[in-house]
């Protein structure tokens, strides 16, 4: 692979090492050969001791008291409804809300589509930030792993390397947990969860159901809690968390655009021109207004019982339309239109000026 590995340069100049990097394709094949042996030994030490001993205790419950000291005290009492409480250290305050960004889900689906032959599911690491009330997952990357009937091997070295690389770009992101595709939590999930609890205290487990059971792609998040009789071997239970979707404004706009591919026959859309966008946005508002009108009519005709909160929203909506004297509106409109026309004229003038300059210089 003769990738030239050219880094893009920015005004604070960085040397573009085109000749040096492009002239040696030699390092390019060698990473291919170097990396082949590298992952092979690594999964052997870490999972081998754990997986050889644990599959012996092949049932879904494995003993992991030493691995999750953080979760041991508080959840042991009341895993289902415990409030955060000071007894739960670690980044996950038990706020029970996980906020996901859409880029994560798209990334997970993409890595599922690119999985190796024979792999039933893919796993990977979740990165993000924690704050007092919730956990926000903002990034993820997939981790190669091998799963068979009785053992599972995860390339933790790879995971560590990727995390280091990602940290160079976004130093604020921490490892929050891991994800897996598929609709069930298997025994191997427990093992993998254990590996991840070494990386991050109280990791989150996210499942994305790509096999579309029940005709839906269900997205669920869990955190592990201990259960069982105190004093005997403790089991691990995954308790569900609420999943909410968080968007930045620009993300929202991007998702709205991408969503349009659902409606086109070959799943392809182009970026629309300026007036088309205005038309699209006004069509959306029109739809929203017709829904509201329909609701109002239903209430009036008695089909639907009136809801006070909705009524209050409706009233504030109607009152938001400003009442302007028509003459004032006319003057505002005309002055705005004049401004815009003037700007357009100036822009055209500038363009013709530089074209003229070009012609003169080339004489």
């Amino acid at each position: 692979m003769a990738t030239p590995a050219v880094p893009p340069s920015t005004p604070p100049a960085t040397p573009t090492e085109t000749p040096a990097a492009a002239s040696d394709p030699a390092p390019a094949p060698s990473p291919a050969s170097v990396s082949a042996p590298a992952p092979a030994p690594v999964p052997a030490p870490t999972p081998a001791p754990a997986s050889s001993s644990d599959p012996a205790a092949a049932a879904a419950t494995t003993a992991a008291p030493g691995q999750t000291p953080a979760s041991a005290p508080a959840p042991a009492q009341a895993p289902a409804q415990s409030l955060p409480g000071p007894a739960l250290p670690g980044p996950f305050p038990g706020g029970r809300v996980v906020r996901l960004h859409p880029v994560i889900l798209a990334s997970i689906v993409d890595s599922y589509e690119r999985r190796n032959e024979g792999a039933a599911r893919v796993i990977g690491t979740l990165l993000g930030t924690v704050d007092k009330h919730s956990v926000e997952v903002t990034n993820c990357f997939s981790v190669p792993h091998n799963e068979s009937e009785d053992e599972v091997a995860v390339d933790m070295e790879f995971a560590k390397n990727m995390y280091e690389l990602h940290k160079k770009v976004s130093p604020n992101e921490l490892i929050l947990g891991w994800y897996a595709t598929g609709h069930d939590i298997t025994e191997h999930s427990v093992l993998i969860h254990e590996y991840y609890s070494r990386e991050a205290p109280n990791p989150i487990h996210l499942t994305v159901d790509t096999s579309l059971q029940n005709g839906r792609m269900s997205i669920k998040a869990y955190v592990s809690t201990l259960m069982g009789v105190p004093g005997r071997t403790m089991g691990v239970m995954f308790t569900p968390l609420t999943v909410k979707y968080a968007y930045y404004d620009t993300e929202r706009i991007g998702v709205d655009l991408i969503m349009k591919t659902c409606f086109s026959p070959n799943r392809v859309i182009g970026l629309s021109s300026d007036l088309q966008q205005v038309g699209g946005a006004s069509a959306r508002i029109q739809d929203a207004l017709s829904t509201v009108l329909q609701y109002a009519e239903d209430v009036l005709s008695g089909k639907v019982s009136a809801d006070n909160t909705v009524g209050r929203f409706l009233m504030s909506l109607v009152n938001q339309v400003p009442k302007i004297v028509p003459e004032d509106f006319e003057t505002m409109l005309n002055s705005n239109i004049n401004d815009l026309l003037m700007v357009t004229y100036l822009a055209n003038l500038t363009q013709s000026q530089i074209a003229l300059n070009e012609k003169l210089v080339n004489l």
Binding site: V255, R267, I337, V361
Partner: protein, 351 residues
């Protein structure tokens, strides 16, 4: 373990086969002169670029990253991307090439396309036509024929619609850059005007079926967007763009003044040369009439050193940038005019 070795083995063979094909991508069959007619981007890439800027790029810093994908006939498919860290001065031991190689190696392990097909950059109000961008894009395009640069405008996107454009250098400009000769004669020979520096490639967005399913899920679960920025009548960004345009026009006029001085100086010099030659001839004739040997012809070029013509590349870039600003302004005003007329229609309906 056997399946893992198979996985990396196939990765190794695919990388060696692409080495053989000079890194032009698995699907590409044709020769190198077919330009890229269309750029097809995965939804995932769009989301990643948006997220990268949002988290790391506040302020006037540009954020950059690498695009990965493959080339299929005359279409460039971009299937993934990864961001580049910001350049900080106190990070002297940070090796970009190594970061890039490591990233691509790791991505190859998870079967992500590891072919470099371009790079992306965010822009501030549309000002991206700079020398640095030209150089970077030239080196990319020189190494990989089909590479593009994606320009993402976050401020315009925040106004309501995704602003993502793909640019390539025109073949004419590529030739000029190859010669590294930016003198006026070369540029005139190449017949390059500011309109022919960059060519814009149309973009389409394509999603796989599973991602479509995901989109349906998200639509059901997430709240309707409560901000409809696109329909707001405010035009504050217009002011900023106009200010940038004015700065550029000032630079351009300075450039023009420099060029004019150069022209004047050259023509004065020509006149002086001419006068000198005439005087020489007259003297020689006088000497001949007096029977003395004529004075030797002196090397005129040593007496009158020719002036350096001013660099033309910068003014081309400025002109290109002014052109971009003007186009942005026109788009913006077209939209706003539409919105104003809509508001007028609504008002008339009410009264």
């Amino acid at each position: 373990m056997a399946s893992r070795k198979e996985g990396t083995g196939s990765a190794a063979t695919s990388s060696s086969s692409t080495t053989g094909a000079a890194g032009k991508g698995k699907g590409k069959a044709g020769s190198g002169d077919s330009a890229v007619k269309q750029v097809q981007i995965d939804g995932l890439v769009v989301l990643k670029i948006i997220k990268h800027y949002q988290e790391e790029g506040q302020g006037t810093e540009v954020v950059q990253g690498v695009l990965l994908g493959l080339v299929v006939e005359d279409r460039l498919e971009i299937t993934n991307c990864f961001p580049f860290p910001q350049h900080t001065e106190d990070d002297a031991d940070f090796d970009e090439v190594q970061y890039q190689m490591e990233m691509m190696r790791s991505l190859r392990h998870v079967n992500i396309d590891h072919l470099h097909v371009g790079w992306y950059q965010s822009t501030y109000y549309g000002s991206f036509v700079t020398r640095a961008l030209l150089d970077s894009q030239f080196s990319y395009q020189h190494a990989i024929e089909e590479s593009v640069v994606l320009i993402y405008d976050p401020i315009k996107t925040a106004q309501g619609s995704l602003s993502l454009k793909a640019y390539r250098l025109t073949p004419k400009l590529m030739e000029v850059c190859k010669e590294k000769d930016f003198s006026p004669e070369a540029l005139k020979k190449g017949n390059i005007t500011f309109e022919h520096m960059f060519e814009e490639v149309p973009i389409v967005i394509k999603n796989s079926h599973l991602i479509n399913v995901l989109m349906w899920e998200l639509e059901k679960k997430s709240a309707v967007a409560d901000k409809h920025e696109l329909l707001s009548l405010a035009s504050s960004h217009l002011g900023k763009t106009l200010q940038l345009l004015m700065d550029r026009v000032d630079e351009m006029s300075q450039d023009i003044v420099k060029y004019n001085t150069y022209m004047r100086n050259t023509s004065k010099q020509q006149q002086q040369k001419h006068q000198y030659q005439q005087r020489r001839q007259q003297e020689n004739m006088q000497r001949q009439s007096r029977g003395e040997p004529p004075l030797p012809e002196e090397d005129l070029s040593k007496l009158f050193k020719p002036h350096q013509p001013p660099a033309r590349m910068d003014s081309l870039l400025i002109a290109g940038q002014i052109n971009t600003y003007c186009q942005n302004i026109k788009e913006f005003t077209a939209q706003n005019l539409g919105k104003l007329f809509m508001a007028q229609a609504l008002q008339e309906y009410n009264s």
